[in-house]
């Protein structure tokens, strides 16, 4: 549609709006300033800027000219509801000469209760950023001052275009806050269980279901998957949390000692038993005992353990006296106990006693979504320990972390991040800080054809430029400086590789990979 060119005063207001949004003020003050300018320059009153919340399908008022916080809070519309909601839904502007005749107009904020609505024109336009509606801008104007409603819509659309990036930033800031909240909710159990993957959510659910019961739990999983952490979480969530949590690594104890270690011994029970000593079961009285690598127990020890589980009583080595114990048992193994049972190396009755509530700790390769969360967590943990300032994990490092098959699971990832933090000279963890095992062909995904040198160089170049742009918040000049090249070359490469550099503008340099 052809429009008349903007008049001088309109261009002046638009320039002033452009200046207002180029300030370093906070977003709300900036929006307020824009609405002030619309009133002063163009007589557009009761301006409102709302942001689209896609997660709720609602439009929320962010700044309303002359509105109290209460009134502002009421300015929430479902998509399609009222004029604001409809404009947000359709992405098309709406304008009326006489506000009073508009049944769609809800006036939820109550801003126009005290004014004669028959004299008011209302103009409402979508705020569009990169082809998506991100918000709505609306204002009133005295009808008698409106010569051409289409021209008013045209002008307000120009304002909306100028403020679109800021409104988008505002929605990103809100989304960021929501994600942070969500992230904090992903570790509600005791602050140690990190993960937002489907598998971890299932584990969290199982833990919360079993924690407050007395049921024996058998945790099965590969080495380094966090079996002990799961056991500790169960203990901390149970009513026994104030009691002791005693860990026994059954594989580390020789057959001759395990019985004495678990159940204690009396003075003179065997050579060297110079005094009576309580076993781990007695030490765990009123709490939880965690039997790690339970599959390694000898058949004799298995029989004694079965008695504790069945009767709730133990006998110290060298004593005929039975001692009642109130201990919850959580066992873990990385072996297939069914197979060991078939081989006659694990008692079936003990297996069924232990396997009351089985939990399968998933390997890290099945928790793809958690790798970065965990990497961030460990990077932060070791950066604190080593008093370093690590702000980011580079794209190339992220690629290595996410494509590796992690045979050592979370333990391996933790060690890997500890090493990376130690080696990092600046505030970024790069691919070359990761151990060589991650850099070589290991997983099946790395057997894919690797392409020609030209393609590989191009991929590496793209990564380098993306990293530099992230570090400079999308500033091409700074990115060019950091790579020791010219802005012109960077611009050419951005266009060649289609790097979405504008996305990095809204994020602080430290936000690109850290949670």
């Amino acid at each position: 549609m052809n429009h008349e060119p903007f008049r001088k005063e309109e261009l002046e207001t638009l320039y002033r709006v452009a200046r207002a949004i180029n300030t370093s003020e906070d977003l709300e003050s900036c929006f307020r300033r824009v609405l002030d300018l619309l009133k002063q320059g163009m007589g557009l009153e009761r301006g409102m800027i709302s942001v689209l919340r896609r997660d709720l399908d609602e439009v929320h008022l962010v700044v309303g000219h002359g509105l109290s916080p209460d009134a502002q809070f009421r300015g929430r519309y479902l998509l399609g509801e009222g004029v604001t909601g409809r404009v947000a839904k359709t992405g098309r502007p709406m304008a009326f000469f006489n506000l009073d005749k508009q049944p769609l107009f809800l006036d939820r904020t109550g801003a126009r209760r005290a004014v004669d609505r028959t004299e008011l024109a209302f103009i409402c336009v979508p705020i569009v950023y990169e082809d998506n509606v991100v918000g709505v801008l609306s204002t009133d104007k005295l009808s008698r001052l409106v010569a051409d409603l289409r021209a008013e819509v045209h002008f307000l659309s120009a304002v909306a275009e100028l403020i679109a990036r800021k409104v988008f930033t505002r929605s990103v800031v809100e989304e960021n806050a929501r994600l942070k909240e969500l992230f904090s909710q992903t570790r509600p159990l005791d602050g140690n269980m990190i993960g937002n993957s489907k598998r971890m959510k299932e584990i969290n659910l199982l833990i919360s279901q079993v924690a407050d019961s007395r049921a024996t739990v058998l945790i099965n999983g590969e080495t380094g998957t966090g079996k002990e952490l799961i056991a500790e979480t169960i203990h901390n969530l149970s009513s026994r949390k104030d009691g002791p949590f005693v860990t026994v690594n059954c594989a580390a104890l020789p057959d001759t000692l395990i019985e004495s270690e678990l159940f204690g011994h009396t003075k003179g029970a065997y050579t060297g038993a110079v005094s009576s000593s309580p076993g781990r079961f007695e030490l765990a009285e009123g709490g939880t005992i965690f039997l790690d690598e339970v599959g390694e127990l000898s058949l004799l020890a298995q029989a004694k353990l079965l008695r504790v589980l069945q009767e709730g009583e133990i006998q110290r080595v060298g004593s005929s006296k039975t001692i009642k114990v109130d201990v919850r048992v959580i066992a873990a193994t990385n072996q297939d106990l069914m197979v060991r049972m078939e081989q006659g190396r694990f008692r079936s009755d003990l297996y069924y006693r232990l396997n009351v509530f089985p939990i399968m700790a998933p390997p890290l390769r099945d928790r793809g979504a958690d790798i970065l969360l965990l990497a961030d967590y460990f990077a932060g943990k070791y950066a604190d320990n080593m008093q370093k300032s690590i702000h980011r994990i580079s794209t190339s490092a992220i690629n290595l972390l996410t494509t590796y098959h992690w045979p050592g699971n979370v333990r391996e990832l933790e060690n890997c991040m500890e090493r990376a933090v130690l080696l990092a000279r600046e505030d970024v963890i790069d691919a070359h800080h990761l151990p060589p095992t991650l850099q070589v062909k290991t997983g099946p995904e790395r057997d894919a054809p690797r392409g020609e040198l030209k393609q590989l160089v191009a991929a590496y170049e793209r990564e380098l430029i993306t990293d530099a742009l992230k570090a400079s918040s999308g500033n091409q000049t700074k990115a060019a400086e950091s790579l020791g090249t010219t802005k012109r070359i960077i611009q050419y490469k951005i266009s060649k590789y289609g790097i979405p550099y504008s996305r990095f503008r809204h994020a602080e340099p430290s936000d690109s990979a850290m949670a």
Binding site: P5, K8, E12, L14, A18, R19, A158, E161, L162
Partner: protein
């Protein structure tokens, strides 16, 4: 075109004397600044003009600033206006911030 003349001490003295003669009149405002910055638009090769002269259709446009930051903000604001749909009626040209003088 707006210009900032460089005056000698004698010339300044003559102007001050003329001001006294005329009465309550200020002919010359002197401000000592470390530098002044102009926001300019490229008209032709090696030919730049202050923005207020080129984009005279925008009222209230200032071309001269005492700080580089202010000049840069003015340049960025003008660029975002010109590159938006609203700026289609304004001719798109290179814009620069130029340091004018040192005190």
């Amino acid at each position: 075109m707006s210009q900032f003349p460089e005056l000698t001490a004698e010339q300044l003295e003559k102007i001050r004397a003329l001001e006294k003669e005329l009465g309550d009149v200020c002919l010359l405002a002197v401000r000592r600044a470390e530098a002044m910055y102009a926001v300019e638009v490229k008209i032709d090769k090696n030919h730049w003009k202050p923005i207020d002269e080129v984009y005279s259709e925008i009222q209230g446009l200032r071309s001269y600033f005492l700080s580089r930051d202010d000049a840069k903000k003015a340049k960025d604001s003008l660029k975002s206006l010109i590159t938006s749909k609203a700026g289609q009626q304004l001719e798109k040209r290179p814009i620069r911030v130029q340091k004018l003088s040192e005190g």
